[in-house]
Symmetry: D2
Subunit: 140 residues, 4 copies
């Protein structure tokens, strides 16, 4: 594990919510982070699909950590705001949130992201959500 | 409990995520729904505050249920998209998400919402998040 | 005209787009700015209503100037991002954009806003758009 | 000019605002539309850059027309909402708004878009804005 992965992993493991949801860090690269989440009835909405809140939680975290991979050493990041479109019902066995940095400014980083749904019966994942997020860099 | 409260309560209790988070329905009125969530380390981000994902989950549900209170009988609602600003760290003992209908159209309902943070040491809650959401009405 | 009004008016008059659209500053107060825009076919979309771009332009400016009324002396503001819901067709003789500061932080100010449509035949304006915006403060 | 280009061109030419801004349709393809806008002081904000409202107007139109290219015959489209991030000052001689369909549902189409700034002195355009938009299909 390199220094970048260590930095993100340490922070991820300190997030109570990620453990409660059952989310796992799947990839850490410069400007891109993936978070995986298996389906669970504990995370459902009223029709049995994955709740938009769970989908949003992993995608917000993926975008925030993507921003953190490009923040100067010693800096923290915090989500200022995001917008998410829920394209279709979040049906699947497993979900993968992908956050990517689009522009890293001095004080604000803009990320886009998507959540892909994987289902046992289908070979190609379906994109169930799209996000556009603004992350603030907090200097020490 | 009147018919409106019954409709929302039945749906709320079918949401696995709300139980997993520990959220409770606090108020149901025509065009306005409140959801309460006590702080828990199980829902934290890396600095120990409430995770934006938990804050977002209850606010998305409050907006969605506010829209449902004004949907024609037999219709379902589904969040098409939302945008949330996180105004300050979500510090507090208890959080209250308030969703309100601003405009109920034939196929789309627009809601705004906020999350208030209550802390033992302060008499006035602080607004920690603002949302603007678009909810689609699904006709049978 | 007090110092606050002078600061906003000077900046407003330097915006080529506001003159091109025919927009006028209607109110400047601490944390709240109104901009008025009469209907014109020059600003229409394909069905003859006011184009969403014109509605958005005056509402973005109203939110930005509301933020500027609360920025420290010598600071500039710039819109980082916004989200707008277009609630109904922008039909009317005259439109009023209202921007209000919801939270003024050190580096980011969050505003909400609406555009009201006034029509000769109706006594009460209709809200045609809702905005939630993030404005960055640029320190000298 | 094929039928798709005709459909979009006819609508574009009926938009008073696009003519007032000086915008031109640059490309029409299935699911993607480009709109070009030369810089003009008539469209500036207070520091002489292109106003966010002008940038937003062409990007909103590009996303809306991208959605229209995929709408069933006889249907109209209308922007329900969008969110835009302004990544850097809109400096340039010419701007190109690119709207792309990401998901075309029965009643809602989700598009993403960007505005590229071209400057005489630079060979590669800079992305100055990112949009995520929801377009409603209006059936006859």
């Amino acid at each position: 594990m390199n220094r970048l992965q260590e930095r993100i992993t340490t922070s991820f493991q300190a997030q109570g919510l990620m453990a409660t949801l059952g989310a796992e860090l799947a990839l850490v690269a410069e400007g891109e982070v993936h978070i995986a989440l298996p389906f669970s009835e504990r995370l459902s909405q009223q029709h049995g699909y994955m709740h938009a809140g769970a989908i949003t939680s992993i995608l917000d975290s993926a975008c925030g950590y993507a921003a953190l991979t490009m923040a100067p050493p010693g800096c923290e990041v915090v989500t200022a705001e995001f917008k998410i479109n829920l394209l279709r019902p979040a049906l699947g066995d497993r979900f993968l949130a992908i956050g990517r940095v689009q522009n890293a400014g001095r004080s604000l980083t803009v990320c886009t992201g998507e959540v892909q749904a994987f289902s046992g019966t289908e070979s190609v994942p379906k994109v169930v959500a799209l996000m556009q997020a603004t992350i603030a860099t907090i200097r020490p």
